[in-house]
Amino acid sequence: MFRDDASHGADLPLAGCRVIEHSRTVAAAYAGRLLAAMGAKVVMLEPPAGSALRTAPPLLHGTGHSALFASLACGKDSLVCDLSLPEGRRMLEQELANADIFIDDTPLREREARGLDREAITASFPALVHVSVRPFGASGPKADWDGEEVNLLHAGGEGFLLPNGLCYELFPDRPPLKIYGHFSEYQGGSMAAFAALAALWAAPEAGGQYVDVSVQDAVLAVGAFALQRFGDGSLEHRSTRHFRYGGVFEARGGYVELLTLEDRQWSALLELLGRPAWAEDHTLQDPLERSRRGDEINHHVREWMIAHDVDDIVRWAQELGVPAAKYRTPAEVIAGEHERSRGLFAPLMLDENTQAEALVAPFQFRCTPLQAAGRVPALGEMTREPPS
C-alpha cells in the first residue's frame, strides 16, 4: 500500500509510508516531523551545506547545535542532494520515484530551475502526493510574498490580538506581541501533515495530486472565532479581548491561569476563596452581573492570589473543581510528574556526547505506542549511489 515496505517501526500508524522532505522553513519541517513521529520514513534532502534550520536559534553554547533543528529533525534521515546540479536533480527523481509524499517549501520562483515545479513533478510522478507549504500558499496574488513567523502570526490575524488580559493591562502602549517561537509555522505544518494524509487517503481512487498549504491560512483557521465575531459585528482588539473575570494572576512563587465558565465553577471558586464577604452579594449569582462587574471581581481575586502560594492554589482549585493551572516553566514541564507518567519525553542524542530530552509526539496511539526517535540525523548520513 505504501512505498516503503521495510520493517521501519512495522506496528506504527504510518509504517511503510515514505516521505521526502525538502525544507528550509519550520512549517515544512514540522509537517515531516509529525509524520516521522507516527512511523513514516522521512528523508530530508539537504543542500551540501545542510538545511538552514541546522543553524537556526536557539543554539547550544559550545556545540552550536540548534535546539530548534533537533526538535524538528529527530526521527528523520538526512540525504545530501544538491539541486543546483544535474546529478542532484537526478537523485531527487530517484527519491521521488519511491516516495508516497513529497513536502517542499521552495519559493515558487526558484522551483523550476531545481526540478521542483508542480507540472514537472505531476508529469513524472502521477502517484505522488506533492505538498507545497509556503508562507502565503502557492496560489493567489500574494503567493510570491515571503514571511517569517512574526509576519505570519500577524498576517493571519492572531498577532493583532496579543497580548491580552494582564499583560496588556500592564503594557498598553507597547507593540503587539508574538507567541513564543514558531506557533504559526506549527499550525501550517500540522495542516500540511493533515492535508498530505488526506490526499494519500484518496490516492487509491484519485492517484497523486498537488496540495497547496499556506501558513497564513492555517493561522486564520485556528483564529476562526475572531472572524466569526467580526461577522457578528464585533471587531476584536487586544485591549478588549479578555475574559471579564479570570485570566492570569500573580501568586506567591508564580502565576496562575483561572477560568470559570460555568455556574458550578463560580461557586467552587468562591469556596476556594474562602467564601469572602464581598461575594455574599446575591446579585453575583447572575453570570451577566458577574460579567459586568468583572474588574471588581478580578480585583478581589488578585488580592487573594498574591497572598497564597501558587502550588497550593492550583492544588486546592483542582480539588474543588475550579479550572486553574500554574504557568509552568519549560523545566517544570520536562520534570512534570504527569508528563513522566505519560512518557511524553524521551532521550535524544544531539551528537555522540550530548544527550538531551525531547518530546516524543503531541499525540499518543494507545494500541501501538509511538517510539522515541533517539537521535538527530547528521548531515548526509544516508548515502546513495549517484544515479547513472
Binding site: F2, P57, F183, A199, D212, F225, L227, L261, L344, F365
Partner: protein, 398 residues
Amino acid sequence: MKAPLAGVRLADFTIHAAGPFCTQLLAQLGAECIKIESKARLDAFRKPHAVYGRLSAATFDQVSVNKLSVRLNLKQPEAIALAKRLISISDVTTESFRAGVMQRLGLGFEGLRAVKPDVILVSLSSCGQSGPDSHFAGYAPLFGAWGGLGWMTGYTDGPPVEMRHVMDHSAGIHAAVATMAALHQRRRTGRAQHVDVAAREVASAMIGDALILASLGITPARPGNRHLSMAPHGVYPTRQPDRWLTLAVRNDAEWLALARELDQPAASSDPRFATAAARLQHSEELDTLLSQWLGACEADATAERLQRAGICAHVSWSMLDIASDPHLKMRGATTEVSAPGIPTRSAVGAPARFSKTDRVGIKRLTPRLGQDEEYVFGELLGLSAVQRADLESREVIA
C-alpha cells in the same frame, strides 16, 4: 473530483472547541460527520457565554459546518445502545470529555471494540487519558499554562500570556492529523486504535526547542518580539494609529535593501549595523530607529514595497483586513456564507487546496439541533417514524 475524505463517516461526541474543530476539518475535507448532542446537556458552545461579555452563542458556527446533528440523551441506556449502533457503522468515533467519562457512559474503548473490532476512537482532552492529572478539567488558556507555551510567551519583563482559542484549534488540527494516521493504519492492518490527544501536550510541542534546552539545564529566556538571530525583527508603529508593521530581516542583503527602501543611506554604512551580529548587539537602537523611520510611513504601501524588495514585511491585520483580502478569498481560505436570518459574512473555508479532490470547504452551515435524525436514525439505522416517535416520547432521543 469529490473531496478526499468522501466516504469516511464520523460519530462525533466532541463538545466545545478543540474536538469540534478537529471534526470540522475532517468534514471540510468530505467526511460525513454526525454530531451527537442532547438538549439535556447542550454543547456549551451552543449557549451564550457571559464570561466573554456577550449574550449570543457566537462561536459555534466556526466549528460546526458540514456536520449533521442528531439528539441522544446519553443518560438513557437505550440511547447508549443507539450510540453504539452509530459507532459500529462509522469509521471514526471522536470525543472530548474528561478522561473516564466515555467509560462511565458505557462507551469506553474496549466496549466499543466489542461492537466494532476495528474501531478508531479519538479522545481529545485537556490532559490525556492517563497520568495523575488526567481528571483535570481545562480550557485553552489552561492548556497553554500547563504546557509551557504561556510561560514562554510575553515581554521579557512582563508576566506570562494567556493563549486563547488558537490553542483549542491547534489541538484540533493535531487530533485531525492523528485521526488520518489511524485511518491509514486501519486500512493497512485492519486494527483498532485509540488515539489520545492531550491539548496541553500540543502546547508543549509548540515549545519543543525550549524543552530541549531545559532538559540540558539551560533556562530559556522569554524573548518577546525579539529573535535570536535576526535584527531588525519585530512589530513597529507606522504613521497610522494602531496600524503596525511586522518586519523580519534575515541577512545583510535584506538589511541593505531595507535601508535603501526606507531611504536611509547612512544606516547602510553604519558599522553598528553592518553584520547580523552587530545588528543583534545594537537591536535596541535599531528598534528605536525603525520606529522613527516607519513612523513616517503608510503601513500597507510600505509592506508591499518591502516585499517587492525581498524583505519579509506584513501589516498586523485585524479581522477587517482579513475579511476583505482578495488573496485569502481567491484561495478559498475565507468564503462568504449566508443563511436565513444570518446576513452574509466571511467564514474560514477549506484548510488546503487540492488539485484533484477539490470539492472541499463549507457545503452546509451549522445544523439545527437534531435536524438530521430522519437520515441518521431513519435511513442509516433503519428506525421507523413510529419507533423514533416512541424514543422521543421517552426522552431517549432528546
